[in-house]
């Protein structure tokens, strides 16, 4: 691309002037205030225009506007005509104020607008045909005086500027800065997604979690509400079922009543028809008469003829009592004194007998009474003797055995006698006592018999003597006792005798005989008295019985007479024949039977009438029928309300008793009430729950928004990461490619430009930092050279970069403003020569105020390829 001309319609101090440029090298010389820099800027503006995009103007843009706006306030406008390497001739019209449109028109194609090809930030930018833009063009091909002066402030600035050129062909940002910007943006706008971070993505994650939680809560609440709805529905169904059951039973009760009413209606109609609507007569009168007849008949039936008498009359029996013999004179019993005396006497005899049986005295006792009482008649007791030992023992043994046998006999006899007759107890006792004595005597004899013979030895004799002495002592004692007993017996005998006498008994010599006789006489009298008493008692009982019988006969006769009278009276009242009691009886019985039938009929009709009255309850049959019809309608209606057939209800009513239905109804009513209450309570709670129901849709939308935001941030994160990755790769690759090319270009021109002071150069691929190799074989950083040398090195670097960066299809013009100002005269010439040589490949425009440069131009430049323009102070 080559610039043919630039027209500054209004640009800084320039107004309506055109500057034509040679195709190869143009030197524009002028002193101070000759608008040299304005023209430099005008060419740049004519080619690249001004950014008209969004945002506030940057500082360099503001500075550019301050410097180059028309001084007279006119329309800031500049145009240029460029010739592209593809042959097109383009006129660029830059409205720098933005009042009207900018354009790029192809002059060879009828001024066709080609702005679209090079539009950049709202204005045509011809540097885009070079593969640059207006900012990178400034960085590489358009070297302004200020930038050269900037070298003086520090080589780092220029180095950074070149790095930008490598990254973006001179835009403001280096690749490193771009990466740093991406990193910062990622940190600020995405952040890390971990628990400790509070960056946007973390906040968005939390927001999404919270939104999801709120959504879950809303859904849970909604689901809970739905479950509660189901529960309430279930409770309501249960309540409805219970109420249905209750209502069914209620209708069944009503149906039961209707059934009952229907039965009453039927019954009432029947009763009414039977009665003819007239109350029946009372059966009381008939009933009373019937009762009288019945009583008369019953009385007659109940009374009997008095029985015939077959015994003695009472008076005769009383006579027989009066004729009974008198009672015998004298005692009928022994009396107490006699019995006591007799008992003492017998006891004394027993003691004496016992004493005799234990006798040690061989002499006969002088107690005749005792002995006589103890021995049987004709036998006298023998006094005990002392026999020889052997004989005596045997004899004594035999005697003792005999005595014992006799004694035993007497005891048995006595006991038998005592048992056999109470009247002979005393003699029996006596016989027993005597027997006992004899047994005792036999025992003593055996004792004596058991002793050994006396004369066997002296010792035995001594013993016998001792025994004899002992016998003597016992004899004395025995006699002493016998005397005492005899004395007591005598007193007893005397007492008995006196008692017998007192009782009027005849007492002879033997008081015992007198006693026996007296006892027998008493027994006889006693027997006689008893017989008479028995006879009297029988008679008196007969008298009592006879009198009772006689009274009964009298009463029966009276009752029969009365019954007959009533029977006849009844017959008369009833008008039946009463020729005889039997006739009256039969007639009355027949009458009574008829009367009872009539009375029963009256009673039945009367009951039916009462029943009818009770059924009607002061209502008419029509009213009752109306009530029945109304009841039936009600039951039918209510049955239909319950979706039932009335027959089903009546069937239920008939299957149960009213009481049972009532109980069931009460139970079901209670159940229904409880179920309804529970359902209502649950319904109330549900209503309250419904009022608090959260909006699920809102929560879903909130989740959607939060999810979208998180997705946006994650997409952004991925895109930032991807962009960074691509940019890092591009940066590394470009630096690897550009650095050798730049170094090669530098190496080719550096010795010439620096007058062979520096022979070689290297470029750090990462930082684009330049090092030069001097003639002393030392590598030095370009930053450490003199200002002029540094400026020259970086001028070469710019040109080298532009060679690398500019599109290969176009050549890039160089617009240089006072680039040799810090070079010495030799290097100035070398630089100008180098530029002139370079202008064969690309257009070079050099602005200068140096006389040496102007002189060189006048000498070296050849028109029309080159040109020298001299500007004059405005």
């Amino acid at each position: 691309m080559r610039v043919e001309s630039v027209t500054a319609h209004a640009f800084g101090p320039i107004l309506g002037q055109t500057l034509k440029l040679a195709p190869q090298m143009t030197v524009i010389a002028g002193g101070n205030e000759s608008a040299k820099s304005s023209w430099h800027a005008a060419i740049y503006a004519g080619l690249c225009g001004r950014r008209r995009g969004k945002g506030a103007a940057r500082s360099d843009e503001r500075r550019f506007a301050e410097l180059h706006r028309p001084w007279d306030g006119g329309h800031w406008r500049v145009s240029a005509v460029v010739l592209l390497d593809d042959g097109r001739r383009i006129e660029l019209d830059q409205d720098l104020d933005g009042r009207s449109g900018c354009s790029a028109r192809d002059l060879l194609l009828g001024a066709r607008d080609v702005s679209g090809e090079i539009m950049n930030d709202g204005a045509p930018d011809a540097s885009k045909w070079l593969g640059l833009d207006r900012r990178s063009f400034v960085a590489t091909a358009c070297v302004r005086q200020a930038q050269l002066l900037g070298v003086l402030e520090g080589a780092e600035t220029l180095q950074s500027h070149l790095e930008r050129a490598a990254a973006t062909a001179g835009a403001d940002s280096t690749a490193t800065e771009a990466l740093e910007r991406l990193k910062k943006f990622r940190h600020d706008h995405v952040g890390r997604d971990d628990a400790r971070s509070n960056g946007p993505v973390r906040r968005a994650t939390r927001a999404l979690d919270e939104a999801r939680e709120r959504l879950q809560m809303a859904r849970d609440a909604h689901a809970g509400y739905l479950e509660a709805c189901e529960e309430v529905e279930r409770l309501r169904e249960e309540a409805a079922a219970a109420e249905h059951r209750r209502d069914l039973l209620d209708v069944a009760v009503a149906a039961k009543r209707v059934e009952d009413l229907r039965g009453r209606c039927i019954r009432a109609a029947q009763l009414y028809e039977d009665s003819g609507g007239v109350a029946p007569a009372s059966s009381a009168e008939v009933s009373l008469l019937s009762t009288q007849v019945a009583e008369a008949l019953e009385a007659w039936k109940q009374c009997r003829e008095p029985p015939a008498s077959d015994g003695l009359p009472a008076a005769e029996l009383e006579t027989q009592i009066a004729m009974l013999p008198p009672m015998p004179d004298g005692p009928v019993s022994l009396g107490r004194d006699i019995e006591d005396s007799y008992e003492r006497l017998c006891r004394c005899d027993q003691e004496l007998a016992y004493h005799d049986a234990n006798c040690s005295d061989p002499r006969p006792d002088s107690r005749p009474g005792t002995r006589g009482r103890l021995q049987p008649a004709g036998q006298q007791a023998q006094a005990p003797e002392i026999p020889t030992a052997a004989q005596g023992g045997k004899v004594a043994g035999r005697r003792a055995a005999s005595v014992a046998v006799v004694g035993a006999f007497l005891v048995v006899s006595g006991l038998i006698a005592g048992i056999g007759a109470s009247g002979s107890r005393i003699p029996g006792a006596l016989l027993a006592v005597a027997g006992a004595v004899l047994i005792a005597a036999g025992g003593v004899g055996r004792f004596i018999r058991s002793r050994r013979p006396l004369g066997s030895t002296r010792a035995e004799l001594s013993k016998l003597e001792a025994l004899h002495a002992a016998d003597q002592e016992r004899r004395r004692l025995w006699q002493q006792r016998q005397a005492e007993l005899l004395s007591a017996r005598a007193r007893a005998q005397l007492d008995l005798q006196q008692a017998l006498v007192a009782a009027g008994a005849a007492v002879g010599e033997d008081v015992m005989i007198a006693f026996d006789e007296h006892r027998k006489a008493c027994a006889d009298r006693s027997s006689s008295v008893a017989e008479q008493a028995r006879r009297r008692d029988v008679l008196e009982a007969q008298i009592v019985e006879r009198r009772r019988f006689e009274k009964m006969c009298e009463e029966m006769a009276a009752a029969r007479a009365d019954a007959l009278s009533r029977l006849l009276d009844a017959a008369e009242v009833c008008g039946v024949p009463a020729g005889s009691p039997e006739e009256a009886l039969c007639a009355l019985a027949a009458w009574k039977e008829r009367c009872e039938i009539e009375r029963d009929d009256l009673d039945r009709r009367r009951r039916e009438w009462e029943e009818l009255k009770m059924i009607l309850d002061d209502k008419s049959i029509d009213v009752l029928a109306d009530e029945l019809a109304s009841g039936e309608r009600e039951v039918a209606d209510r049955a239909r309300e319950l979706c039932l057939e009335p027959d089903d209800v009546y069937r239920l009513a008939r299957s149960r008793a009213m009481v049972e239905l009532a109980v069931s109804w009460r139970d079901s009513n209670e159940t229904a009430r409880e179920a309804r209450g529970e359902a209502d309570r649950a319904g109330g709670a549900l209503e309250s729950q419904r009022e608090r129901l959260p909006a699920v849709a809102d929560a879903e939308e909130a989740v959607e928004l939060a999810d979208e935001e998180l997705k946006r941030l994650r997409d952004l994160d991925q895109e930032l990461e991807l962009t960074t990755e691509l940019l890092v790769g591009a940066q590394a690759e470009v630096q690897r490619d550009i650095a050798p090319k730049v170094a090669l270009t530098l190496k080719r021109w550096l010795p010439r430009v620096t007058a062979e002071r520096y022979l070689d150069a290297t470029v750090d691929p990462k930082t684009l930092k330049v090092s030069v190799y001097d003639r002393r074989s030392r590598w030095r950083s370009a930053d450490q050279l003199s200002h002029g040398a540094t400026e020259q090195v970086y001028l070469l670097l710019r040109v080298a970069l532009s060679d690398c960066l500019v599109s290969k299809s176009e050549s890039c013009p160089l617009l240089l403003d006072d680039v040799t100002v810090h070079a010495d005269s030799r290097r100035t010439v070398e630089i100008l020569e180098w530029l002139h040589e370079l202008s064969a490949e690309r257009q070079v425009v050099v602005f200068t105020q140096e006389e040496q440069v102007t002189s060189w131009a006048q000498r070296s430049l050849r028109e029309p390829a080159d040109a020298l323009h001299e500007l004059f102070t405005l």
Partner: protein, 406 residues
């Protein structure tokens, strides 16, 4: 037979859409042949989806959309009353079971009660399925409301000789074909009202929608039905044997066709004629705005304003075209208040936006930027992501801070 005659005061095909009014424009007019005696007129609607979420809308706008759905229900009811139809029929998805709000039940109850004695017949769908906890069970409906509750077709006699057979979804999914094994058990004209998926060619339009209670159109005459009034597909469709009214109020962008309520006139021979009435309470429309040559955000917003000035309702704006890369495009700044206050809502999305980078020229650069561009172009990326990565990198190299690309 009870013959219903049309009141002369009822305007046919009345448009109840905003601005329609009593003298609104007619969407479609079906003229009955004179020899066909009509026995009843029904108003059909379905898929209102009360309380549905609008995930594409900002929070406030979403709530506004839901309010509009409620207004549409009112419009449907008003239309039924104005047309003096024999019954108002709903083909399901009247509301969303999983999302209904606290007053939805009362809204439905009061709206339908106001129509008394006009019959309202509802066949619950998969979104408002009939269950123990559904609103249909909780609401104390007025006597004129009939909600089908069985998962088999059950009859309702609408007029002498006209039976409407309806069924309910009893679960949110797995509902079987209602027509399978069905035959009317009586004489006369038989219509069906249910929520189901027709498996024929029409289903193509609703691809992606789960098939509920699937059936084929040819099954309708085979069962002995004269016509089926069906909900589920949101696109309107007038088939020979069945009618989908479509969702009466927009739920998504890009919905086309005459959606709304359908006046179904049933003739004595079982044939039906249909008039579609727009009942939506708002419009939802898509607008594409070209941003070619825009150099800054204000220019883009000006173009959006210009494009929206003649729109109404809720508008989704899609930005397309070639735009200066320097434009700091922020869709979140383009709110209803900033671009079109007269609209119900605005959603702006980035469409085929091309930034006016000369990518080819940049790619030819020997710079890091050029190589970055070449690498980005060569990377295996989706085009939209490639665009964002490219712009992001270029902005970073330009020294810009607004690196995020929408």
């Amino acid at each position: 037979m009870i013959l219903l005659s049309l009141p002369s005061s009822i305007p046919r095909g009345r448009d109840l859409s905003p601005g329609g009014g009593a003298q609104g424009r007619c969407i479609a007019i079906m003229i009955h042949p004179p020899d066909i005696i009509e026995i009843m007129r029904l108003l059909l609607f379905s898929d209102l989806h009360l309380d549905a979420p609008f995930r594409w809308a900002p929070a406030g706008a979403a709530r506004d959309r839901r309010r509009k759905l409620r207004e549409t229900l009112r419009r449907v009811a008003d239309l039924a009353a104005d047309l003096d139809v024999g019954a108002l029929c709903c083909g399901g998805d009247l509301y969303e079971h999983d999302r209904f709000s606290s007053d939805t039940g009362e809204l439905l109850r009061a709206t339908f009660e106001d129509l008394y004695p006009l019959a309202v017949v509802i066949s619950p769908g998969n979104h408002d399925w009939y269950g123990p906890s559904s609103l249909y069970r909780q609401v104390a409906w007025s006597p004129n409301v009939k909600v089908f509750s069985e998962d088999r077709l059950a009859p309702v006699s609408l007029a002498e000789g006209l039976t409407l057979w309806g069924a309910a979804h009893r679960a949110p999914a797995t509902t079987r074909n209602f027509l399978e094994g069905f035959h009317p058990d009586r004489e006369g004209v038989h219509l069906a009202l249910f929520h189901g998926s027709e498996l024929g060619g029409f289903a193509i339009e609703e691809r992606g929608k789960i098939s509920h209670a699937p059936f084929r159109a040819e099954e309708i005459p085979e069962t002995g039905l004269h016509h089926a009034l069906v909900g589920h597909f949101h696109a309107p469709f007038d088939g020979e044997w069945h009618t989908y009214p479509g969702n009466p109020d927009p739920l998504e962008f890009g919905e086309h066709g005459d959606r709304g309520a359908v006046l179904v006139t049933v003739s004595a021979d079982g044939s039906v004629s249909r008039e579609r009435h727009r009942v939506s309470s708002s419009l939802v429309s898509d607008v594409t705005v070209r941003v070619d040559g825009a150099r800054y955000m204000d220019q883009v917003m000006d173009r959006v304003r210009e494009a929206l000035c003649s729109c109404e309702g809720f508008v989704r704006v899609t930005l397309t075209g070639e735009m200066d890369p320097g434009v700091d495009l922020r869709t979140e700044d383009m709110t209803r208040e900033s671009v079109a206050e007269h609209l119900d809502g605005v959603v702006v999305r980035i469409g085929d936006i091309r930034l006016a980078y000369d990518v080819d020229a940049l790619a030819r650069e020997g710079t890091v930027r050029g190589l970055f561009v070449r690498k980005a172009l060569a990377a295996d990326l989706e085009e939209d992501r490639r665009r964002r990565v490219l712009v992001m990198g270029l902005r970073a190299l330009d020294g810009r801070e607004d690196l995020e690309v929408r």
